[in-house]
Structures are given as structure tokens and as C-alpha cells.
């Protein structure tokens, strides 16, 4: 009996594996009995942390004053860079470059939301009160947000050590791409800007950290998802050996999709906070923190060229990818760029490939793991290219796909860039999808819709879905010589333990860390089949504890590795235990071990079921009577398997990388119709064909496909981590970061074509991420087909389609002035203008502007005005609109004075809710009646928290506040005195004086 033995039928019936059994997880999850990190309680004396975060995309920190915060009773500590740097070292950075990566801002902030200080207090409310009392002075720096712009020689530089913003630049060459391009009759190109998005788990990050002074060790509970290679990163950062960092995970985690890998910098911060305060410290991330500053997928600028024969066959691909990893290269980045390295030819047999991979840093949140990890970016370019090839050559896109697919007889197929595609029949799967997906009917619908003048389009995507990442692929970012010096890295070790207790009950422990997927159900099925038991008799635990469990760097839940690797390892461990139990039973039953079978809860003679022992008796024998075990046999109680596939070798000298063990295949068909009245996009049908090898639980596979599709639909139509030109993050709530709800997700037609993987114990492949790779481009291809568009930018919103759907717009009537115009830097900003007539001469107004006492009366909400120089004032003000109010420090400077006619007003505001800058010109023109016409126009930008959570209303709110200033100026000059006006009063005055703001 060995791993290759066929799965044993239980009691003569079909195996449990492959059936959609009810999930053992559901009863607890559906009745509110999940055990998430925030439900677990914390040790007595635990302190709570809140994190003060940057309001700027890029700024130097001039000073941090926490005096008032520390004076608040119940506040134990306020940690800043010096505290953290004294106890820790920089997080490891994945490229050979002179850059550091700290979990807290050091000399400057490089993205909005970057931690600046950690407040540790008796409770979270108090910690947030204290946060409001910390005063940070920033000197804003110009930000850079676009990856191409980051490479410009005059671009602002984030990390001085790098000189520019380029962290890595590697070129690869496979086959003879130059010759292929020279020989090909056609060259077809696409240029892509793939946006940022993230999969937004419903449970945010959580950490409880405790430093134990007696043993100088850390115990951290976190809803981390792996990979546990990060354990080494954290231990190094905390300057302890690995055995003094105990990392545990809760039983349940409310979704991750890769994102919870990014909790690790906070483990370092909270561990340091615990060490400093001598108490356990707990931190639960809030939604604004999560959206703004947890992590997200990379955005990428890509140019992809193909050398193409007249019949559509691609003979070479040339990739130029600029990967934007945000403000820091945080481990394991730039892995997003290299995860797909073996798969850069997708589902196609292309032998000549060149790749240039550049990694740049910009003033945005550092990127990390996210469902699809590198796939969406690659396939968006590749499958858009395939559609463009068809259009430019006048071919059917399906023909182009067919002519390029890896042929069925070529598996296992070594791709040009090094992937070993394990199994598949791509052509057969595609034809089945066309047949069973009703493709002919969709073509007819398109014909009739177009005949009626409607916008109807069909898109396709053929995608290879990699799973079980090779831990060595990331080393492809290094040159072969650098890799040689660093030593080889490869493999994807999975571990599982199966044990029998004294009553003969079976437990399974895996180092997998699920976040709702149903691992416990599937492992029970797999192990029950091996041991001839019922799944409900198997108890599976999936909490991790690095102090006790069998684990390795590859442990964790990512790279769609559960079904192919973890379930396979459990199968192997159960098989090993079964083999031992068979030897124990064989002596009692007078059989050879080979004659023993496990079925129906009994261990019996094959072919003679009456010669049997209860399973529990055999399984408990090692506890009660170890002396009776067969000679030379150890244990029989607990079997742990460490499994790693031999196919996952280290990158070769020629930079060939087998980046993943398994390769599923997906073929998607999407039909859309665009509403001519609203430019709204309706998905008429979506068909998704999957070959994920052997299906262990059809219901869960459907769940993975549907969930991946929903995430991808968000990426295609709704979601983007948006930044304003000043670096402000704009999507800090779910009112602005739009995740599709059940209402928006159409029904899917899911199809299967099974070719088991020869490389995994159960023949299964991963299926968790495929639609995140195939669906965004499939929808984009359909929209492009519907409207005849050469290029598509995600997310595809009705507003973006408007200019293609609607006829050109009429000119605005003369009375309508543009309300948004380009600012001095050519970026969109808030601008406005207004005028007011007052019955005081210009000199009176002039004097008001230059006098702190009178300025106080006209600066909206000013508590005090301090004169720094004759023309430079600082004020504490409360500003707001409606119920929204915040306290700010405002600086006003008056420049280029032409008394008493004109002056340039420059202002900035900094406060707990955010920051703003603006400048405007004020002119004072005397009227014949002895009064003055005040005219002003301004350009402003508002950032920080208000921009992140209230962007929809922000421009209007800033306009109101600026209008308040000038109205108050007019009122004051008209003899209104120092009285502050109510909103209604100033509005009335505004209307009466003809103001327009």
C-alpha cells in the first residue's frame, strides 16, 4: 500500500471524496459561533492600540509631539520611529537594493495611511482620544503615483538609497524572439494600465502580542494566513531566534484572499509595544485603516507585443512590465510580478519570449498577496492581445485561440519560460465550453441585437491557473549569479498529521490556516476514505501554533494550495497510519498486511468481512499495549507527513522557472449588452469552464469559482483603490470602494472538464483564483466587442463608456462657467471663484486682511490667530459643513501684495481629519459709490481622512468653507464687526451681495 494505491471505497459504497457533503464549519459560522480573533478575549491587563496614520501621500516629518496624548490618564505609551527602531530591525526586502522597510514611518511618510505613531492605552476609545492629541508637523513633498511617471528622471524619489524609484530591472530571453519578430508578417501590440484593487475580507486584521520577559520571547496571536516564511521575517525584525517567536492563529478567520498575509508588519509593531509596556497589546484594524493602508494587488503598466503569422499563430511575445509595489517593497514583493513567470505564455504554445520586468515604488500603499496574485495583470494583457490579433488580422478570436493552444498530446508541457504544465486538454475543454455554454445561441443574440442597433458583445478568455507556488520562484528577481551566492530556494512543503487517540478516534492537524473555505470538511472526507470511517468521525483542527505544530515556510493558505498540496499531505499521512494499523491488525486477524482492508469502521480481511476487528480497537492498540506491536514497528499513534513535489525545482541558469506545481485551465465566455440610454453594462451570460483536476468537493469548487468571479466582477466593473493627484487616498469606505453585492453578481454557468494532475497525491489542482485571472479580461473583451473599442481601462464604468455610447455633447450655454479647470500643475483640483460687493473702500478690506485681530473674525471658525510675520499667520480653527466638524491648524500667507488692490493668499490646513492646501488671488476694485468689488479665484486640494471617507461631498464642502472666508471678509468690511455669522446668515448675505462660491 502506498500513495499511488487507489482510494478505498468505504463499506462498498462510493468514496466520500468527490461528494458535496455538508460543511462541518457551517453550523458554527451560521449561528454566530465562529471563533474570530476579536471574539477570543485577551489576557487580563491587555492594553489596546490605535495607530496614528499619515494624512499625506508624501511628506517629511518635521516633528511629532505626543506630550498632550501622554498626559491623558490611561495612556501607557506613544511609540514612534525611535522606539520601534531601538527594538527591531528593518523588515527584509526582497531585492538586492539599498532600501529598508520599517513598519512605521521614519524620516518621512511615503503613503497616506502609513503608521506614524502607535498609542497604547487602557481601551481603544481612549487610545483614539489620545491619537487626536498628537501633533505632527509635516513638510509636504511632491508625490509620484503613476508607475511610468515614477521612472522619469525628474520624478520625486521615495527612497534616497535607490536614487530613483526603480527597485529592480531584469530582462529575460527565451528562444529567439528577435528572429521571430523579424520573420513574422504581423506585429500586434497592446498597452495596458491595470488598476489597483483588493479583495476586502469582511474581518480586518487583528493582533494580540505578548512579550514574556522571563524567556525573552514573543507570543503573537494574529489572523495571519501564511506563508510562514514570514515567521522568519518577523523573528529577524524582532531580533529573536525563531524558537522565541510563537505565532498562533485563531480557529476562524473572516476571509483573507491573500490580504491577511499583510498583517505581519503590525505583528512587529504590537510585539514592540508589548515589550515596551510590559503588557499584552491588542490591535484590531478598522475599516478605514484596512481600505487605506492594509495592502492591495499591484497596479501594472504593460506593453505586450506579439509576432504573428497570417493565420493568427503567435511565434513570439515581448513583455515589458512595470510593476508598482507602492511605497515599500514589503515581503514577499515583488512576488506578484514573478508568480506568473513560468506562465507568461498562458495557455499557448509560444516558444520565443522576451520579458523586461521593472519594479517601481510610488506613494501608494505597499502591495502584497491578493487573490489571483499576478494573474489578472498578465492575462488582461495577454487576452486583450489575442482579441486585437483577431481584429487586426480579420480572424475569429476563437480561431486565434485554437491555433495557439498547447496541444493535448504535449503534456506534461514545458513552457518557454520554464513552467511544467502538468495535464490538460485545452482544446477539448474549450469546445465543450462552446457547446455546453450555448455559444451558437449567443452569436445569434448578438446578430439580432446588432441588427436592431443595440450594443451587444461577446468576449473570451483562455487562461492557465497556476497553483501550489514554488517557494523558489521569487528568487528569479535575482540574477543567476546572485542566486548562486544566496543558495538554492525551491519546493512547496505541505504538512499534515493524523493521529489516533486511546479510544481509537482519529484527529487531523494541518498547517493550513483556513478563512472559511471548508478545509475541515474536505480533510475529514479524504482521511475517512483512507481509514474506512465516516467523515463525522474524523476531527480536524486547523488552528496554527508554531511552537507545537509541524510546519515549514510554505505552510499557510495561499497559492490555491489546499486541495492539491494540503489535502494530499493529509491523504499521505492517513495512508501511512493505515499501513501501520494494517500490520497491527494483520497479526490479530492472521493475515498478511496486504490482505487487510479498512471499511465501514472495521478492519477486516479482504474478501472475508467476517474476519474483522473494530477500527477503534486496532487504532487504540498502540496506546494500551505497545508491547504487542509487531517487531520493529514504531508508533501507530501519530503520523506526520512533510510532502514536497520534486517537480518544483529552483530556477535554472537560463532563468527558466517552474513557478507552480499545478496548472488548471479555464475557458470563459462572456456576453454583454450596453444600455444606450444609461451606458450601463448588463452581463447577459457568463460561462466558465474549469479543469481543476480531480474535484474533491463539487459544492466547494462551485463556491470558489463563484466567489472568484464575484471578486473579478468587482475588479472589472466597480473597484479601484483611487488616489488623488496629491496622493490622497479616495476610497476609504464601502460607499466609495464599491464591492459588488449579491444583486450585482449574475448567475454563472459553471462547467467542468477533468484531467487529474499526475503530480499531486489526489490528482487535484487549485481552483481558488482562476476567475480572478480570466474574468476581468473576458468582460473587457466583451465590452470592447460591443462598442468596437480598441482599448479598455478597468474598472469599466458607465461614465467611462459614456463618450462611446452617446453622441458628442452640445456646447454649454454661455452663462455656464466650467467649475473644474486644470490647476497650475495640470492636475484636476478644486477651483472656484466668486465676487461680492461691499460698501467699504478697498483700504478697509486691506487692513482687515493684514490684521490678526480682524483676520480672526473672518477666518471661518477661528479660535485664535497668531501673527508669525507681517504677512504670515497661524490660526487654530474649527471647520466643517453640516454635522462634519474638525479642528485644524491653518497657516495663511499673503504674498505679492499690491496695496490696496490685490494679494495672493496661500493657505494650508492640517488636522485630525486631514489636510488641505490652496492658493487664490484676491482683487479689490473700488466702485464709483466708494465701495469695493471683491473678486477671488482659487485652486485648492483637500486630502487626508476626509478625502478618504467623504470624497463624494468634499469639493462642495471645501467650496463652502472658502466661500465662508470671503463672505465674512465682505461682512466684516461692511461693518458686521467681529461677530461670527451663522451659516444661514452668511448664505443670505451671500445671495444678497451677489456672491458665487
Amino acid at each position: 500500500m502506498n500513495a499511488e494505491a487507489p482510494l478505498q471505497a468505504n463499506g462498498g459504497t462510493a468514496p466520500w471524496t468527490g461528494r458535496s457533503l455538508p460543511r462541518v464549519e457551517d453550523a458554527a459560522l451560521l449561528t454566530g459561533r465562529g471563533r474570530y480573533i476579536d471574539d477570543l478575549g485577551a489576557p487580563p491587563g491587555t492594553l489596546h492600540a490605535a495607530i496614528l496614520r499619515s494624512q499625506h501621500g508624501h511628506a517629511r516629518i518635521e516633528s511629532i509631539d505626543a506630550t498632550r496624548a501622554l498626559a491623558l490618564p490611561g495612556v501607557e505609551a506613544v511609540l514612534t520611529r525611535d522606539d520601534i527602531q531601538a527594538l527591531t530591525t528593518s523588515l527584509v526586502v526582497g531585492v538586492k537594493a539599498p532600501v529598508e522597510c520599517w513598519p512605521i514611518a521614519t524620516d518621512r511618510v511615503r503613503y497616506m495611511g502609513e503608521p506614524v505613531a502607535v498609542v497604547v492605552a487602557r481601551d481603544r476609545y481612549l487610545a483614539e482620544d489620545a491619537m487626536d492629541l498628537i501633533s505632527v508637523r509635516y513638510a509636504p513633498l511632491p508625490p509620484v503615483l503613476d508607475p511610468r511617471a515614477a521612472l522619469a528622471p525628474d520624478a520625486p524619489v521615495l527612497h534616497e538609497g535607490l536614487r530613483g524609484n526603480l527597485a529592480s530591472d531584469r530582462s529575460f530571453r527565451y528562444g529567439d524572439p528577435e528572429a521571430a519578430f523579424a520573420a513574422a508578417p504581423h506585429r500586434v501590440s497592446v498597452v495596458i494600465d491595470y488598476p489597483r484593487n483588493a479583495c476586502t475580507p469582511i474581518e480586518t486584521y487583528g493582533v494580540v502580542a505578548e512579550y514574556e520577559p522571563g524567556t525573552q520571547s514573543y507570543d503573537i496571536l494574529a489572523n495571519f494566513q501564511g506563508p510562514f516564511s514570514i515567521h522568519a521575517v518577523i523573528a529577524r525584525a524582532l531580533k529573536v531566534p525563531g524558537n522565541r517567536l510563537r505565532l498562533r492563529t485563531p480557529r476562524d478567520s473572516g476571509g483573507s484572499f491573500g490580504v491577511k498575509q499583510g498583517v505581519f508588519p503590525y505583528m512587529v509593531l504590537m510585539a514592540a509595544a508589548s515589550r515596551i509596556t510590559g503588557r499584552p497589546v491588542k490591535w484590531i484594524e478598522d475599516r478605514l485603516e484596512h481600505l487605506a493602508a492594509s495592502t492591495c494587488a499591484t497596479n501594472r503598466a504593460t506593453q505586450l507585443d506579439a509576432a504573428v503569422e497570417a493565420d493568427g499563430r503567435i511565434t513570439a511575445l515581448a513583455w515589458d512590465q512595470i510593476e508598482d509595489c507602492g511605497a515599500h517593497l514589503r515581503a514577499p514583493e515583488p512576488a506578484t510580478l514573478y508568480r506568473m513567470h513560468g506562465n507568461m505564455t498562458g495557455a499557448y504554445a509560444v516558444r520565443n519570449v522576451s520579458i523586461r520586468n521593472r519594479v517601481v515604488l510610488t506613494n501608494k500603499t505597499p502591495t502584497g498577496l491578493n487573490r489571483g496574485f499576478g494573474g489578472p495583470q498578465v492575462y488582461f494583457a495577454l487576452e486583450r492581445l489575442v482579441q486585437r490579433i483577431a481584429l487586426e488580422l480579420g480572424l475569429d478570436p476563437l480561431e486565434v485561440i485554437r491555433r495557439n493552444l498547447v496541444p493535448a498530446d504535449a503534456f506534461p508541457y514545458r513552457s518557454a519560460t520554464g513552467a511544467l504544465l502538468d495535464s490538460g486538454d485545452y482544446g477539448a475543454a474549450m469546445e465543450a465550453a462552446l457547446r455546453d455554454g450555448g455559444h451558437e445561441e449567443l452569436l445569434r443574440r448578438r446578430d439580432s441585437a446588432r441588427a436592431a442597433g443595440r450594443f451587444y458583445g461577446i468576449g473570451y478568455a483562455a487562461v492557465v491557473e497556476p497553483s501550489v507556488s514554488n517557494m523558489g520562484y521569487i528568487s528569479a528577481v535575482l540574477t543567476p549569479a546572485e542566486r548562486k551566492r544566496a543558495g538554492p530556494k525551491n519546493g512547496a512543503q505541505a504538512t499534515a498529521t493524523v493521529s489516533a487517540d486511546p479510544l481509537g478516534a482519529i484527529s487531523v492537524q494541518v498547517a493550513s490556516v483556513p478563512q472559511g473555505q471548508g478545509h475541515r470538511t474536505v480533510l475529514a472526507q479524504v482521511v475517512a476514505d483512507v481509514l474506512g470511517l465516516r467523515p463525522e468521525e474524523i476531527r480536524v483542527t486547523s488552528e496554527m501554533d508554531t511552537a507545537k505544530d509541524a510546519w515549514s515556510i510554505a505552510s499557510g493558505n495561499y497559492a490555491s494550495r489546499f486541495a492539491p498540496a494540503v489535502a494530499g499531505a493529509a491523504h499521505l499521512a492517513a495512508t501511512r497510519l493505515r499501513d501501520k494499523l494494517a500490520r497491527i491488525a494483520a497479526s490479530g486477524l492472521n493475515l498478511l498486511p496486504e490482505e487487510v482492508e479498512f471499511a465501514g469502521g472495521r478492519v477486516r480481511a479482504r474478501g472475508n468481512p467476517d474476519n474483522a476487528l473494530p477500527f477503534a480497537r486496532v487504532a487504540s492498540a498502540s496506546h494500551w499495549a505497545p508491547g504487542t506491536l509487531p517487531p520493529e514497528m514504531e508508533g501507530g499513534i501519530r503520523e506526520t507527513v512533510f510532502w514536497t513535489p520534486p517537480e518544483l525545482t529552483a530556477p535554472t541558469e537560463a532563468d527558466e522557472v517552474n513557478s507552480s506545481l499545478c496548472h488548471g485551465f479555464i475557458f470563459d465566455i462572456c456576453a454583454v449588452e450596453i444600455d444606450p440610454a444609461t451606458a450601463g453594462i448588463r452581463i447577459d451570460r457568463y460561462v466558465t469552464m474549469h479543469d481543476c483536476g480531480r474535484v474533491l468537493h463539487p459544492g466547494m469548487v462551485a463556491g470558489q469559482v463563484t466567489g472568484g468571479f464575484a471578486h473579478a466582477l468587482g475588479a472589472a466593473l466597480y473597484e479601484e483603490h483611487a488616489y488623488a493627484p496629491d496622493g490622497s487616498f479616495q476610497t476609504g469606505t464601502f460607499a466609495d470602494y464599491l464591492v459588488p453585492t449579491a444583486t450585482e453578481v449574475p448567475d454563472l454557468r459553471i462547467l467542468h472538464h477533468e484531467t487529474p494532475s499526475p503530480f499531486t497525491p489526489l490528482g487535484a489542482k487549485g481552483v481558488g483564483e482562476g476567475n480572478c485571472m480570466s474574468t476581468p479580461v473576458c468582460i473587457a473583451n466583451a465590452v470592447a466587442d460591443a462598442l468596437g473599442l480598441p482599448s479598455i481601462t478597468l474598472p469599466v464604468t458607465p461614465a467611462r463608456l459614456a463618450e462611446h455610447v452617446f453622441p458628442p455633447e452640445s456646447e454649454p450655454p454661455a452663462r455656464v462657467r466650467p467649475t473644474t479647470r486644470p490647476t497650475a500643475t495640470g492636475q484636476r483640483g478644486l477651483s472656484g471663484e466668486g465676487e461680492a460687493v461691499v460698501d467699504a473702500p478697498p483700504q478697509v478690506l486691506w487692513d482687515i486682511l493684514f490684521n490678526p485681530a480682524t483676520l480672526q473674525a473672518i477666518v471661518p471658525g477661528a479660535h485664535s490667530v497668531e501673527r508669525l510675520t507681517d504677512s504670515h499667520f497661524r490660526a487654530e480653527v474649527t471647520l466643517g459643513v453640516g454635522p462634519v466638524r474638525g479642528r485644524y491648524v491653518v497657516e495663511l500667507e499673503l504674498a505679492e501684495p499690491v496695496p490696496p488692490r490685490s494679494v495672493v493668499l496661500t493657505g494650508s490646513a492640517e488636522g485630525g481629519l486631514g489636510s488641505g492646501q490652496g492658493s487664490g488671488t484676491v482683487t479689490l476694485e473700488p466702485t464709483p459709490e466708494g465701495g469695493t468689488i471683491i473678486r477671488y479665484h482659487y485652486d485648492a486640494a483637500v486630502g487626508g481622512k476626509v478625502a478618504a471617507v467623504g470624497g463624494r461631498l468634499l469639493d462642495g464642502a471645501a467650496r463652502v468653507v472658502i466661500g465662508q472666508f470671503f463672505t465674512a471678509l465682505a461682512n466684516h468690511a461692511s461693518g458686521g464687526g467681529a461677530k461670527r455669522l451663522g451659516l444661514l446668515a452668511w448664505l443670505r448675505r451671500l445671495l444678497r451681495t451677489g456672491g458665487r462660491a
Binding site: T797, L913, G982
Partner: protein
């Protein structure tokens, strides 16, 4: 995301609410359904010193629909309005628009008057109140007054309500027989803030269109009848005059297009519904 500390008053009657408003002035905020205010507190965008919870006040539970019209008290939740018998017959626009207000979960908490007080320029209820000729009934410890919706909404989250006043109720006149009403909205997702929402009333020869989501408050204009050759020009002028701006979710141009196209469709529907 934890609110700053505040005092909480669970008022037992109207007088107690008005006394707190008199005493605390700008420091006090009314808490009704909390669907806008609570997130603002949690994000510390608003930090009132006192919250006055009005949901326990019997006087504010009034929800009556008589010959004159519909009176909705300060404590009436949106879901309760939606559950009113004969709403679709007596107030077809309200019945058509209610499902567009957030989600079932937010409607089961959010109040009608709370949405009016919040005066979000993209919210549906202020738009409906304007389109249907509704009134806002205000109270302070000194006086009661009533303002037409068109005078109540003064700008972005700003209203004519004084610091010491609260919305006691809103009133929507009964639809006259034969009047046509229609409501349409486009948002990014179901339940989102409107990119453009249109509400039209066709009353004999008078045709009015109110638009939300574009200007800093809902705006209304009388327009020519469908079929009138000047309608297109009038809609175009309305679209431009609303001063649409670009934001994350839509461009100014897209909003103008929707005012023209959705506006026309809404007008036509209202005219068709006219008896």
C-alpha cells in the same frame, strides 16, 4: 473608528428634546435611525457633546395618511413608510422610490425625517419631498413653523433649520386625482447614492422635474410637455445649469447625459401615468 465621548439622552417626550436643543445649542445632535450619524461619529467626523435619541418619544411616531396628505413624524422609519397600506395607490412616487433608498437593512433603521435633516445632495428623500411639494415642520422650544422643501434645503448638508430647532415631522400633500408621478435613478450599484435621480410630476398642463445627485441640493424646474419641440432644449439647459462635477463615480458629462436622458424618460413616464 471609535466615537469621541458624548452624553446620551434618551428623550421621553418632545419637550425634553427641545429643552436639550435649547440648552446645548450646536453641541447637541438628534439621533434618530443613526444611519448617517453613527458612522460619522465612529469616524470622528462629527463630535457632538450630546446625542438626543428621539426614537422613544411617542409624539414622533405619528404616521398618518388622510385626505389632506401624509404626515411622517421624526421617529418613523423608512421601512414603516414603505409598509403603509395603499402607499402605491395614494403616493405612487414614494412607493416607487423607497426601494432605491439604501438597502432593506438601512431602511429598517433609517428614518424619513433623519434623511431630510441630513440633506445629502444625493439622497432620495429630500428629492421626493421637493418633487411632491412637501413641507418640513420645524419646532423649537419657542415656536413651530413650516417650510416648503424648496426653502428648507439650502446647500450641501445645509438646511434652514436653526440650531435650536428639530424636524418634528414632514408633510406630503395627497396626490391630486389624475396627477402622474414617476421616479427613476441611476447609481453604481443597487442601494448606492444616486449618480442622478429624477422625480417628475405631471399635473395637468404643469410638468415639473426634480433632480438629485447633481447640484448641492435637489433642484426642480418646470418643463415643457413631452412632444413639445422645446423640451429637449429645456432639458439641456437644466442639465448644464445644475453645475455637475466630476467625482470618483461619474463624470460631469455623464451626469448631464443622465439628466437629459433619464429626465426625459421620467417625464414621459409621469405624463403617461397622468389620467
Amino acid at each position: 473608528m471609535k466615537p469621541a465621548s458624548f452624553d446620551y439622552v434618551r428623550a421621553e417626550d418632545r419637550k425634553e428634546v427641545l429643552d436639550v436643543l435649547r440648552r446645548e445649542g450646536t453641541e447637541a445632535r438628534i439621533l434618530a435611525g443613526g444611519q448617517s450619524l453613527m458612522p460619522m461619529l465612529a469616524m470622528r467626523l462629527a463630535r457632538p457633546g450630546v446625542l438626543v435619541d428621539v426614537m422613544g418619544v411617542p409624539e414622533f411616531r405619528i404616521l398618518s395618511d388622510d385626505a389632506a396628505g401624509l404626515t411622517i413624524g421624526a421617529g418613523v422609519r423608512q421601512a414603516a413608510l414603505g409598509a403603509l397600506p395603499d402607499l402605491a395607490q395614494r403616493h405612487p412616487m414614494l412607493a416607487a422610490a423607497l426601494p432605491w433608498i439604501g438597502h432593506a437593512q438601512t431602511r429598517s433603521r433609517g428614518t424619513v425625517c433623519g434623511s431630510v435633516a441630513h440633506a445629502d445632495p444625493s439622497a432620495e428623500i429630500p428629492l421626493l419631498l421637493l418633487a411632491l411639494g412637501g413641507e418640513v415642520r420645524l419646532r423649537s422650544h419657542r415656536r413651530a413653523r413650516s417650510l416648503p422643501a424648496g426653502e428648507f434645503f439650502t446647500g450641501l448638508m445645509n438646511t434652514a433649520k436653526a440650531e435650536n430647532e428639530m424636524i418634528d415631522s414632514v408633510f406630503i400633500p395627497a396626490a391630486k386625482p389624475g396627477v402622474g408621478q414617476a421616479f427613476r435613478e441611476i447609481g453604481r450599484r443597487h442601494g448606492d447614492y444616486a449618480i442622478v435621480a429624477c422625480a417628475a410630476v405631471a399635473d395637468g398642463a404643469v410638468l415639473r422635474l426634480a433632480v438629485g445627485g447633481v447640484a448641492d441640493r435637489p433642484m426642480m424646474r418646470s418643463l415643457p410637455q413631452p412632444g413639445d419641440p422645446t423640451l429637449e432644449e429645456a432639458l439641456d439647459a437644466f442639465a448644464w445649469d445644475l453645475g455637475a462635477r466630476d467625482d470618483l463615480h461619474a463624470t460631469a458629462r455623464y451626469r448631464r447625459e443622465l439628466v437629459r436622458r433619464l429626465g426625459r424618460a421620467t417625464i414621459e413616464e409621469a405624463a403617461r401615468c397622468r389620467a
